[in-house]
Symmetry: C2
Subunit: 208 residues, 2 copies
C-alpha cells in the first residue's frame, strides 16, 4: 500500500454533500490531499478540461496519482476506506453498508440533495419549481420515513457500528433543513445525526 | 464460506432490470437459489409481509439464510460476487466498477429504467406523461452519450474485463428500446451489449 505517501487531489465544491462524503473520509482516515475547488454554479464542471477528467461533468472527482480520475462519491469513499474500519469486515454487513449507500444515491441525494441545491444555492422559488418541488419533497420525506424506521432501534446503519453508510447518509440528511425539510418528526434520525457528528475527527460540511 | 450449501431466496419480478442483475450473477456464478415472484404491478411489494423484508417496498430482495434480508440490486450482486472474478482484484479497478454502478443507479435506472416501466409495463401514453417523459428521455440519452464515449475504445467498463459494472449497466441499457430509446446512434454501446450477451452462462432478462 503506497496510499499514505501519494498525494490525492480532490476536485470538489465545498457545499456539496457528495464532496463532503469524500472530505470527511479523508479527514477521519487522516489522509493528506490537495483540494481543487470547482465552481459548479458557474459551469466549472462542464469545461473541456473538467470533462476530460469526468465525462459526466460532476464533482467530486478524486485524482489518484499513477492511476487516473475517479468520479462518484461512493466509489471514491470505498476506494479511500478500502481495508479501514469504515468498511465492515463481515461480508453481509458490508453488503448492508452498500445497501444503504445505494438507497442514498437513489432516494436521498436526488430528492433531499437536489431540493437543497435548487432552494438554497440556486435560490429558486416554490412558484418556479412547482410540481417538481412537491414530488421531490414527497419522495424525500418517504426516504426519511425509511431512515427513521431503521434508526429507531439502531445506533448505526450497517453492522451497528460507524461505517461509510453513516457518512453517506449523513451528508445530505443533516442539511435537509436547507432545502426546507423539517426533521422535527424524526427523533431517531436526529439522534443518529448527533452520533455521526460526535465521531473522532469529524468536520462540518464546508470544511476543507 | 458456507455460501455454496445455503439456499438463497430471491424476491423478484422477472421483467425487472434490477432483479435481472441478481439473476444473471446467480446464473453466471452457478449459485442455486429459489425464486419468489412478487407482483409489483398489483401492490405485491407494498404488503405488510413484504415491507417487513424491505421497509423501502422494492424488489429485488435477497434472503440470506441465517443473516437476513438484503435489498438493493447492487448490494445483492456485490454480496453474491464477493471474491469472484466478477469483481476486480485491483483496488482502483474495483473502485471504477463501483463508479459505473453508481452512475447506473443515478443516471440510467431512474431514466431509461423508469421510462421503460411507464411505457412498456404501465402502458402510459406520451400525453399522460407529458413533461416528465421529455425530461427523463433527455437525461437517459445524456447517460447513453457518456456510455458511448466510454465504450468507443474500451471492451468493458472496469479494468477492461467483464465485471459487475457491465452486468449492472447492461440490465436496463439492452432493453432501452422498450421505453422508446433508439440505440442506433450508439454503435459502441450496441457492440458492448453483444459482448455482454455472449458471456458464458448468460441468460435473458426474464429467465428464471
Amino acid at each position: 500500500m503506497t496510499k499514505g505517501v501519494m498525494m490525492y487531489r480532490l476536485y470538489d465544491y465545498l457545499p456539496s454533500g457528495n464532496g463532503y462524503k469524500a472530505r470527511l473520509v479523508l479527514k477521519q482516515l487522516r489522509i493528506d490531499y490537495q483540494l481543487v475547488e470547482v465552481d459548479i454554479i458557474n459551469g466549472g464542471s462542464r469545461t473541456p478540461e473538467f470533462l476530460a477528467k469526468n465525462p459526466n461533468g460532476r464533482i467530486p472527482v478524486l485524482e489518484v496519482p499513477g492511476k487516473g480520475f475517479l468520479p462518484e462519491s461512493h466509489a471514491i469513499v470505498s476506494y479511500l476506506a478500502d481495508g479501514s474500519e469504515l468498511i465492515p469486515a463481515d461480508a453481509f454487513e458490508r453488503a448492508c453498508m452498500w445497501q444503504w449507500m445505494c438507497f442514498e444515491q437513489y432516494h436521498v441525494e436526488p430528492n433531499i440533495g437536489t431540493v437543497r441545491f435548487w432552494v438554497h444555492f440556486l435560490r429558486k422559488t416554490r412558484a418556479e419549481l412547482g410540481e417538481k418541488l412537491i414530488e421531490k419533497k414527497k419522495s424525500g420525506y418517504a426516504a426519511l420515513d425509511v431512515l427513521e424506521e431503521t434508526l429507531r432501534d439502531r445506533e448505526y446503519l450497517a453492522g451497528n457500528r460507524y461505517s461509510l453508510a453513516d457518512i453517506s447518509l449523513f451528508a445530505y440528511t443533516h442539511v435537509a433543513h436547507e432545502g426546507g425539510f423539517d426533521l422535527q418528526p424524526y427523533p431517531g434520525v436526529r439522534a443518529w445525526c448527533d452520533r455521526v457528528a460526535s465521531q473522532p475527527d469529524w468536520v462540518p460540511i464546508t470544511a476543507r
